[in-house]
């Protein structure tokens, strides 16, 4: 911690406090309300956990890509494609079989959606950030088109699919309304644990880390860098698609236009905040969940714009990125 960083943090706080004062809200009040609206009541906790689930899974997807040297900005698109495929499969095949099909189908769809970006990066040298941004656009318009046309529920005014039957939903693990916890959250945590173990203890995980940290050294160590790049993108995309499946099966129970409020983009921040350990994704996703739920709450309670959430998250990322940058420079 040096004085430059301290100034940065003070400046960031200043921006938020200044903005709050400008719109006539006492800053201390706002922060209390954020906490109250996100973790203050059982219902609020339930909402926060629900918000945290997709951020957690998508954060894992981005994190895995980063470890392998890929900045997968495309998780938003993979999330949409996975959700759309999961919803249509779940509607076709009801019951437990449908749930399994939707999970696997969503993951495969996400992987396929990510594949071009990985292939182009590995074999044509095109940067994955550009290609995944393009794929995001295509995914958004494609799923919107599908849900407005062939997938649209008959007799519905809005552009949405029909709703899944109760037997095709992921069950609640704990249900004492207003506090409910879906089993999807446990899936997400298990995914973090599995990834942590895989990266640390398997030869494949070691090689993936090597490719991310120094592709040239990895090549000299006998690693097929191109193959690892493609597989990393496929895996990252599959987890992105899986997040979409879980969102449909656990919470939304349908697919509709405007399905994602930008979870894929928030997940970039989650992965960045997580640092170098997969376990870091958990608190990072939790923090983003709290800020998101809390600021929705105060925008209603204190009549302030919902954009405050975005401002807060943006400032956190900037401060953190500056801190990380400083640390890596001082090492070198």
């Amino acid at each position: 911690m040096n004085w430059k960083l301290a100034i940065l943090i003070v400046a960031a706080l200043g921006v938020v406090i200044g903005a709050l004062i400008a719109i006539g809200v006492a800053p201390s009040d706002a922060f209390l309300q954020i906490l109250k609206g996100s973790v203050g009541t059982p219902g609020a906790i339930g909402r926060t956990l629900r918000e945290t689930t997709p951020l957690l899974i998508l954060g894992v997807a981005v994190f895995l890509g980063l470890r392998g040297g890929l900045f997968n900005i495309g998780v938003e698109g993979q999330f949409l494609i996975g959700a759309c495929v999961a919803a249509s499969l779940g509607l076709k095949v009801p019951g437990i079989l449908g749930v399994l099909l939707a999970i696997v189908g969503g993951a495969i769809a996400g992987a396929l959606w990510a594949f071009p970006a990985g292939w182009i990066k590995a074999y044509r040298g095109g940067h994955e950030v550009i290609s995944t941004i393009m794929l995001n656009n295509i995914a958004f318009h494609l799923t919107t088109g599908l849900v407005a046309g062939p997938l649209k529920a008959p007799g519905q005014q809005s552009t949405t699919t029909a709703t899944l039957t109760d037997s095709t939903k992921l069950p609640m693990l704990y249900s004492a309304p207003p506090l409910t916890i879906n089993i999807a959250l446990i899936f997400a945590l298990a995914l973090v644990a599995a990834l942590a173990l895989w990266l640390k203890r398997t030869v494949a995980g070691y090689e993936l880390n090597a490719v991310g940290a120094n592709p040239k050294a990895a090549q000299f160590a006998g690693v097929d860098v191109r193959k690892v790049t493609v597989w990393t993108m496929l895996a990252s995309g599959a987890i992105g698609g899986l997040a979409g499946s879980c969102q449909v099966l656990a919470y939304e129970h349908r697919f509709y236009e405007g399905f994602s409020p930008g979870y894929g983009f928030d997940a970039l921040g989650v992965a960045l905040l997580a640092g170098s350990s997969p376990w870091g994704v958990v608190p990072a996703a939790g923090l983003f969940g709290i800020l998101s739920t809390g600021s929705s709450f105060i925008s209603a309670a204190l009549q302030i714009p919902k954009g405050l959430n975005g401002v807060l998250i943006g400032l956190i990322i900037i401060v953190f990125a500056a801190f990380r940058y400083r640390r890596s420079r001082s090492n070198g």
């Binding site: 030869v203 940290a213 120094n214 040239k216 050294a217 000299f220």
Partner: protein
């Protein structure tokens, strides 16, 4: 005889480390002055202070009798001091002329014809020849070195600092370079030569200053009485007598690696290796002498299984492995000490422990099935660090916390671990000082003798190879040349083979 550069009492600290402690350097005008010492002795730090790349904490710098303090290299060059570092700063896409002028163009508008005339004049003075409109990327290492020196002359430098200028040159090119440098000195320019090569110092320089551990150890004039010999210089540099290397002859065992008329395609589609045949036996360390860029890299790529083999074959223990990929070769015992350890040999952000497995990650006992055996990895990391006494603060610390020489020790030791069969070493002693160099070669020979392994060592330093290897072959233009019987240790003969003049 006038002193042109006088540095007195120069002290520089980096944190708790004192890199330079009250160092003096007096350089006479019109001389070639050698500055020698081990890695970390403070040579580079001292030179950076002289040309404005670094500030001294204490001390006085006088140039031509005037006290000077350069805040950056632009100020230094304006006062006539310039430096050519080991890593050339030539941009291959620009022409030779553009490179020459870069940053010192004669005005807003460049009259190419006038510039070219002036460039040719400079070159002729030095006895160099350049086609100024050709891209600089087409220059040989010797040509690039010459262009760097001309860049200094273009900027009207009269005091030139050259850092290991002959490191990448053949003996013949190196000698030619010194003829030019002596010409410059005769005209009154001053050259400070930073080098590891002691024969160069004794043959071409008029003075030598020795640094050790950031202090002055010795200063001597060469060519007068009481001129130090190479052994004396080496003793000053290291701090104690350096034993002469005695290579005990080996009775060649059975063949391990056999290369049969191998032709390999290079990165630019050209045929980089043109029909090389070579047989290595158990216990043998073979030196591959050659100027950089004569097919050494492509030959090694083909041997580790990433090159494009056009024709010919590679046999390991009698088995054809030409079609095997890198993983398979590693399993069969092919090990590489890569050229650029930062880029190719280690992951600097990783701990020593993680780096210990790099390249060996798929081999038993580091791997059991799909899993990494963490205990074995830790044990191996300890053994590797122990082998050449890598100085480190803990196996869990990142690789970047090690100095370059210590990283190289680690990388070399790793290549000797887990039952190698063939060790391919590309400049394994690059950046190592005398002691490190001796240790690496001794371990290489010992491993080869004891475990029945063979090794190919690529180096651009013929003296080192002649001193340390069982036999030396030359590579030139992608073809291999073996010295004639009776000339196996003949420096001049092998030097001629390296440039195709035999």
């Amino acid at each position: 005889m006038s002193t042109i550069v006088s540095m007195t009492g120069i002290t520089r600290r980096f944190g708790a480390v004192t890199a330079l402690d009250q160092v003096d350097l007096q350089v006479e005008a019109g001389k070639i002055h050698a500055l020698v010492g081990e890695n970390g002795a403070g040579k580079t730090t001292l030179m950076r202070i002289l040309y404005g790349g670094l500030d001294a904490d204490a001390g006085v710098i006088e140039v031509e009798g005037q006290s000077r303090h350069f805040r950056n290299s632009a100020e230094a060059i304006a006062s006539g001091i310039g430096m050519v570092s080991q890593h050339y700063s030539i941009i291959p896409e620009l022409t030779c002329l553009q490179n020459l002028m870069l940053g010192a163009e004669p005005g807003l508008w460049i009259a190419e014809r006038d510039a070219e005339a002036r460039a040719t004049e400079l070159a002729t003075r030095m006895g160099f020849e350049f086609s100024w409109r050709a891209p600089a990327g087409s220059l040989s290492p010797a040509g690039a070195q010459k262009l760097e020196i001309l860049k200094l002359l273009w900027r009207q430098a009269r005091i030139m600092i050259l850092d290991e200028p002959t490191a990448m040159l053949s003996p013949a090119d190196g000698d030619a370079l010194f003829v030019s440098l002596k010409q410059l000195a005769a005209e009154g320019d001053t050259i400070i030569l930073v080098t590891h090569r002691l024969p160069e110092v004794l043959q071409h320089c008029s003075h030598v200053t020795v640094l050790r551990g950031g202090r002055n150890v010795a200063h001597a004039a060469i060519g007068e009485h009481e001129t130090p010999d190479a052994a004396q210089l080496a003793a000053w540099i290291v701090g104690h007598e350096v034993p002469e290397v005695q290579i005990e002859a080996v009775a060649p065992g059975k063949p391990v690696l056999e290369i049969r008329s191998l032709r390999v395609r290079g990165d630019r589609g050209e045929e980089a290796v043109k029909g090389i045949s070579l047989r290595l036996h158990e216990g043998e360390v073979v030196g591959l002498a050659g100027v950089d860029g004569n097919g050494q890299r492509e030959l090694f790529q083909a041997l580790i299984g990433v090159g494009t083999v056009l024709e010919g074959s590679v046999l390991l223990d009698g088995r054809d492995v030409t079609r095997d990929g890198p993983v398979e070769r590693l399993r069969q015992g092919v090990r590489l000490i890569p050229e650029d350890r930062h880029e190719e040999g280690v992951v600097e952000d990783w701990s020593l422990e993680l780096n210990a497995a790099l390249g060996l990650q798929r081999l038993e006992p580091l791997r059991s099935g799909l899993w990494v055996d963490v205990g074995e990895r830790r044990a191996l990391a300890g053994a590797i660090a122990e082998r050449f006494r890598t100085k480190h603060g803990g196996l869990g610390l990142p690789m970047r916390s090690l100095s370059g020489g210590n990283q190289q020790r680690f990388v070399a030791a790793r290549a000797l671990a887990l039952k190698p069969r063939v060790i391919l070493a590309f400049q394994p002693t690059r950046g190592l000082d005398i002691e490190g160099t001796l240790a690496v070669y001794a371990a290489l020979r010992e491993t080869c003798r004891r475990e029945g392994v063979c090794a190919i060592v690529v180096s651009f330093d013929l003296d080192e190879l002649l001193e340390q290897c069982d036999r030396v072959v030359a590579i030139n233009g992608g073809a291999l040349f073996e010295p004639k019987p009776g000339e196996e240790r003949d420096r001049a003969a092998i030097g001629r083979l390296m440039v195709g003049a035999a």
